[in-house]
């Protein structure tokens, strides 16, 4: 058997951390090879080395049996290696075609031949079953479509080895399903795929071989058909992982958060939330499930104060908070894990320690008479890093920007749970996290519930909603179409309700 790519004994050091320690990875041609590991296990570093973004401190790389030195991404491209990054690298006000041909434009004399470019894009997209509108602007198309543009960009550059860095982290369940089909199609057309992920389900569904990394070290390589999700999870985390959230039945108390006839406009000026009413009680997790873009974001932003509702009321312990500022709401007892961690959750250029105190930086013990107390800030950071197992190269002084996505999210969760708010708005808390971290965050959410807090969990992951919630509210087109008991529902029923096709009689009664 010949390998198309071999990375032998790769070692890479960063300040304070050995990201890759003697890792060997061998990839067969025309296969889907998964690279599995927790956040910060060294997957992205290894792939960045293969793509020429980093230089290894030791080890060799062979492509098609020949030893190569990949000094920058241009070398990788010429070797037929392409990469779809987790955060897309697209020009937003360019069209799909312009983005794909950028840097390799077909020309007619000195002028870009956009007709020819569009024709070629269409040819490639037909060949691999990647339907896109070549003339659409990036800012007007969905995230799933944008990802297709990234894939087409690689194919346009004749990439044979395609690296996908956490490709499903930003996709809806439907888009994930489509992506899996695209990947299969690419392999039958002769491509080789390297899939970086921590989602076991996806590996089981699509990959042939799986290599597991943990804390920078190689744990092993296994054929996917001969292993189980539980076994892979154990290899990744280093202990047995429970996929199911352990929890006792909820003991709901008084209603802490009450939303009455709320209407909220989206950024584009249309109503995103329509006449929505909802109650969350102390000691319960209410899961809000729905397909992305059905008003979840607007609802969360209206509750937390990031946007102003058009009409309706929001009550916290029977106190009207509809017109309070963000600060006043925070002080009144609302906590918020925002869905966009890089936009709202963190100041990426701040250190970890600074990010931990972003809500209460002006209060003792962190400040007195307007002067910051560095020692206390440091101690607070060290405590949270320890307690929540946030992995960072330089402790409290680590720049948030330099941390992996999963650890950034852990830092936000640590900060918000530590404040212990009465009403906790949790949006996409585990997006992009590995099973170990997910298990931990779910456990902490349930602990908060058992302390008598009211929790509104907003998630696009049905598994998460069903596992963690006590009651589930289904949102469709800005309104709650049903509220059901988590114990007495299933994926099919929720799926139907999310698509607006099915509306149980009980739901109508619950809304009255």
């Amino acid at each position: 058997m010949s390998y198309i790519v071999e990375m032998l004994h790769i070692t890479k050091d960063f300040p304070g951390i050995r990201a890759n320690d003697d890792i060997t990875l061998q990839i067969e041609e025309r296969s889907i090879h998964a690279l599995l590991g927790e956040n910060g296990a060294g997957k992205s570093t290894l792939m960045s080395i293969l793509f020429g973004l980093y230089q290894p401190d030791g080890g060799t790389i062979r492509v098609r049996g020949r030893e190569v030195k990949i000094s920058d991404p241009n070398v990788a491209t010429s070797l037929g290696i392409g990469m779809v990054h987790q955060h897309f690298k697209l020009v937003h006000n360019f069209t799909v075609t312009e983005n794909i041909v950028l840097g390799m434009e077909p020309r007619k004399g000195p002028i870009i031949d956009i007709r020819e470019a569009e024709k070629r894009v269409e040819e490639i997209s037909k060949l691999y079953g990647l339907a896109v509108d070549p003339r659409a602007r990036i800012e007007d198309i969905s995230v799933g479509m944008q990802q297709r543009v990234e894939i087409l960009k690689m194919l346009y550059r004749n990439a044979e080895i395609l690296i996908f860095d956490e490709p499903t982290a930003v996709l809806t369940p439907q888009e994930i399903h489509e992506l899996m089909q695209i990947m299969r199609k690419l392999v039958t057309e002769g491509k080789t795929i390297l899939l970086i992920t921590h989602k076991l389900k996806e590996i089981k569904e699509v990959a042939d071989v799986c290599t597991v990394l943990r804390r920078g070290k190689l744990i092993g390589t296994v054929p996917v058909s001969e292993t189980s999700e539980a076994r892979m999870a154990e290899m990744m985390v280093g202990r047995q992982v429970s996929f199911h959230v352990e929890k006792s039945p909820a003991r709901p108390g008084a209603t802490l958060l009450r939303i009455e006839h709320l209407n909220v406009k989206t950024a584009k000026g249309v109503l995103g939330v329509r006449d929505l009413s909802l109650e969350v009680r102390a000691g319960e997790v209410l899961g809000l499930c729905g397909i992305e873009g059905n008003g979840q974001t607007e609802l969360v932003q209206a509750i937390t104060g990031l946007t102003r509702p058009e009409s309706g009321r929001i009550l916290l312990r029977d106190r009207d908070i509809t017109h309070l500022s963000i600060k006043e709401r925070t002080d009144a007892g609302i906590g918020h894990i925002p869905e966009d961690r890089q936009k709202h959750g963190l100041v990426l250029d701040f250190t970890l320690g600074e990010n931990f105190i972003i809500h209460n930086y002006y209060e003792p013990p962190f400040a007195r008479y307007g002067i910051l107390n560095r020692k206390k800030i440091q101690e607070n950071a060290e405590r949270l890093i320890r307690e929540f197992d946030v992995r960072s190269g330089q402790g409290a002084l680590t720049a948030a920007r330099s941390m992996s996505g999963g650890n950034q999210q852990k830092a936000i969760v640590a900060r918000e749970i530590d404040r212990s708010p009465d009403v906790f708005i949790v949006a996409q808390p585990t997006r992009g996290l590995d099973v170990g971290a997910i298990e931990y965050i779910h456990k902490r959410i349930i602990e908060e519930r058992d302390k008598g807090k009211a929790i509104l969990l907003v998630s696009l992951e049905l598994d998460e909603i069903m596992d963690v919630s006590d009651r589930i509210a289904v949102i469709y087109n800005g309104s709650i179409v049903a509220i059901v008991d988590a114990a007495s529902t299933d994926e099919n029923q929720l799926g139907l309700m999310m698509s607006g096709a099915y509306r149980p009689a009980t739901a109508a009664a619950a809304q009255e």
Binding site: T304, L306, K343, G345, D349, Y362
Partner: protein
């Protein structure tokens, strides 16, 4: 390379490259770069390498500090706004308003020095802050871009200054006002005498205080914390409940205060009378360069301000060596250019570091 080391090494390389380019141009014009270096050394230290008869003249040190003081302050002004994510080019106008306020208080108030001089400085600080508040308020209330507003405000300040000096304070020669009372001045005969008759004055005391205050506010206070948060990520600051708009106004006011103080340091330090100006003198734009090279940090601004001040002071000395004075301007401009090219310099450095890496790898295989 760590971020901290980078912040020190990259500007240093830029400075070296700037001088290198300056030397090449001097050689191209057929003169000796040694004469240029001699002039620059003399401008900074007063030590004359080329003339053994007068080996040391402290007057040059005094003159170089005079040049550095106002651009350190305008550098602080630009940097402070910059830390809140604002690109303010209004230091020029804020400086002129500060200078005008200093002139007004110097001419109109009669008091002993301990009262009069602090009043002059305070008036300049307040005038600068108020002039800075206007673009801040417009930004906060209507999201009008601060670059446009501050440019316009610079022109308004120039003409307000000239109108007031000429028509209200009654300039006799259409250039300057009557001389100020000595109680209003930063000037001191003793400082002048120890520097062999330079214009050195007590202005460096408020400059040092301003540097310390800048550093303290930005790094140690909760106010500075929220300013930096707004500067780095406005949305996250809003999410955390910070008052973003209030911070924008406050930041522009404090930036204006630094620039206003610069106006006073010039008017009652370097000069002894209010002046009508034919056009802006460029302190504001020099300040942007100083802040850029200084990395928006107090210590960096101090060093960059001294460097550019010294280059300015060296200009007449170069001319006396037969080297065009514009060379100093070219060096200054190319330093800024090289700092702006820091990503390119970083790439070259990384390539260099990488070239050394394979040798250790080779040992292992």
């Amino acid at each position: 390379m760590t971020a901290r080391r980078e912040k020190i090494v990259l500007p240093l390389i830029a400075v070296l490259l700037g001088f290198l380019l300056g030397s090449i141009i001097v050689i191209a014009t057929g003169r000796s770069p040694l004469a240029m270096i001699g002039a620059i050394v003399k401008g900074f230290t007063g030590i004359d390498l080329l003339n053994p008869d007068v080996p040391f003249n402290p007057r040059y040190i005094g003159e170089f500090i005079i040049q550095a003081m106002p651009i350190i302050l305008t550098g602080l002004a630009f940097a402070f706004a910059s830390r809140t994510g604002l690109f303010s080019i209004g230091a020029e106008g804020q400086l002129m308003m500060g200078s005008l306020a200093a002139t007004a208080v110097a001419l109109l108030v009669k008091a002993p020095k301990v009262v009069h001089l602090p009043l002059v400085l305070l008036a300049a600080i307040l005038a600068g802050a108020l002039w800075g508040a206007i673009p801040g308020l417009l930004k906060a209330a209507f999201n009008v871009h601060e670059v446009v507003v501050t440019i316009m405000m610079n022109y308004i300040a120039l003409h307000v200054n000239n109108y007031t000096i000429l028509n209200i304070f009654g300039s006799v020669d259409r250039i300057k006002t009557a001389p100020f009372a000595p109680t209003a001045l930063l000037k001191d005969p003793w400082l002048e005498s120890i520097t062999n008759g330079s214009r050195l004055n007590w202005g460096f005391i408020p400059v040092i205080l301003a540097l310390l205050i800048f550093s303290f506010i930005i790094n140690r206070t909760t106010f500075g914390f929220s300013l930096r948060a707004v500067g780095y990520n406005k949305e996250a600051a809003r999410y955390a409940g910070m008052k973003v708009n209030r911070n924008i106004v406050a930041s522009m006011m404090i930036a204006g205060a630094f620039a206003g103080l610069a106006g006073a340091v010039i008017t009652v330090g370097t000069f002894t009378f209010g002046r009508a100006l034919p056009s802006a003198e460029g302190y504001g734009f020099d300040g942007i360069a100083v802040a850029l090279v200084g990395g928006n940090e107090a210590l960096g601004i101090l060093l960059a301000g001294m460097l550019f001040g010294g280059l300015k002071a060296a200009q007449p000395l170069m001319q006396s060596q037969g080297i065009p004075r514009e060379i100093a301007g070219i060096i200054q401009a190319s330093i800024v250019l090289f700092v702006a090219m820091k990503f390119g310099i970083k790439m070259v450095l990384q390539k260099f570091e990488r070239k050394q890496a394979p040798s250790t790898e080779g040992d292992r295989v």
